[in-house]
Symmetry: C2
Amino acid sequence: MPWGIRLAALDRSLISRLPLFQGLTPDEQSEILRSARSSRYPKDSAIFEQETEAHSFFVLVAGHIRVVRTTPDGQQVIARYISEGEIFGVAAALGRTTYPASAIAAVDCVVLAWANALWPELTRRFPAFGATTYKTVGTRLQETQTRVVEMSTEQVEQRVAHALLRLANQTGRKTASGIEIDFPISRQDIAEMTGTTLHTVSRLLSKWEDNGIIVSGRQKVTVKDAHRLVVLAENRDKG
Amino acid sequence: MPWGIRLAALDRSLISRLPLFQGLTPDEQSEILRSARSSRYPKDSAIFEQETEAHSFFVLVAGHIRVVRTTPDGQQVIARYISEGEIFGVAAALGRTTYPASAIAAVDCVVLAWANALWPELTRRFPAFGATTYKTVGTRLQETQTRVVEMSTEQVEQRVAHALLRLANQTGRKTASGIEIDFPISRQDIAEMTGTTLHTVSRLLSKWEDNGIIVSGRQKVTVKDAHRLVVLAENRDKG
DNA sequence: CGGACAATTTGCGCTGGCGCAAACTCGGGA
DNA sequence: TCCCGAGTTTGCGCCAGCGCAAATTGTCCG
């Protein structure tokens, strides 16, 4: 449950730097913001749940969100992570009435939400807003297809290496010892991103740590030698 | 290569029955059609190729199209099949400048094409056209994610069963002996849809044929007992 | 500061499905 | 009609990665 609060005065600076709102004038940004509702979600709470009626779409202002699909028999697959500034839960824009997955706060999050009913008007009045959203959707479709290709053609080791590299690129934070993934991520999470088991992920990370490619701890991974990880990821065993 | 022909008079009846053009008046349909170019593509020819500049988007008027992604080392994965009436190659609508996959005619095809430059105007003047397209995109994103989930959680046998059921539902033709997939599809094709090898697919189909669940021939599969195939597809081994 | 739980590591045995190879068969073109 | 090549079938051996189980290590909370 969010400890939902309608912030007294949403600051335009919250969103003005986001790609989604580029190409809009300050006045337009303020206006869009006025129709938004802001909420905080504590770590591990759900912003929305799979199969439930889609009432809103969202922008992540701060934090990290895990998008999870659960199978009828309870197995979970992580569809993607949402980073700061991204739009998500855009079921409305794609003509769906329910959310196809759940969105879970990986850390405490701040989120803006708009009622789906506002979507048509927003896109009509601010075409750039719709175009950017659809561009994001296009990117996600392509990324998802890339994942299908990886799962079809790569070994587990390559898939896990690819996943780590992607996380490091998208959400990595430079530290003294390397690029650290800046939200808590477990072996189980990585397994659910790559279609393997936490045991296999653990074995791989242990090996890589021995080789000095990464350092890792409890729910934490730091990539020390991205280059060697790339080599592993692209290893052409099965040509 | 298409033996491209600009048909003298495109008949509105070509498209009036398609969901994509529902909600448009006959006049509007005719007008949209006027800005289209029609081409025929013989079996196995490419409508467009992966990574090439996206110049147009398309509607399949007749035939079946295979959408294929090829990896740097030459392995192929079938992203989906396009059936009559579907829109495809909508890179423009999603802000991409190149096609993320190749589209290959699985049989002789008839295709309508519009220059990407027309997209903004078409969606502006015919909002229902854009909405339907984005709904299709949403469906495909969800289907692709479902495929990721299947590849993460199911055994090969279940995945192949699911793939056959999907093909039977989407493009099946009722015959005396069952539901026949009405375009040529090889064991290799099925393998590329499910992330396995043609050998494994062949073994599974042989077994199913022995069990009377399907009958199959060269580039041909007919589902005789869909119900038992569903049981195989949903088999909860790993619960 | 101590307990309890969650996350991680690691060993061991097994097997689903792949790689390789060879035989076979259908269908279409000369 | 015959031949050729693409598509298919099937046997065999192997191994990547899983399932199971148990030990170990952090971390948070009282």
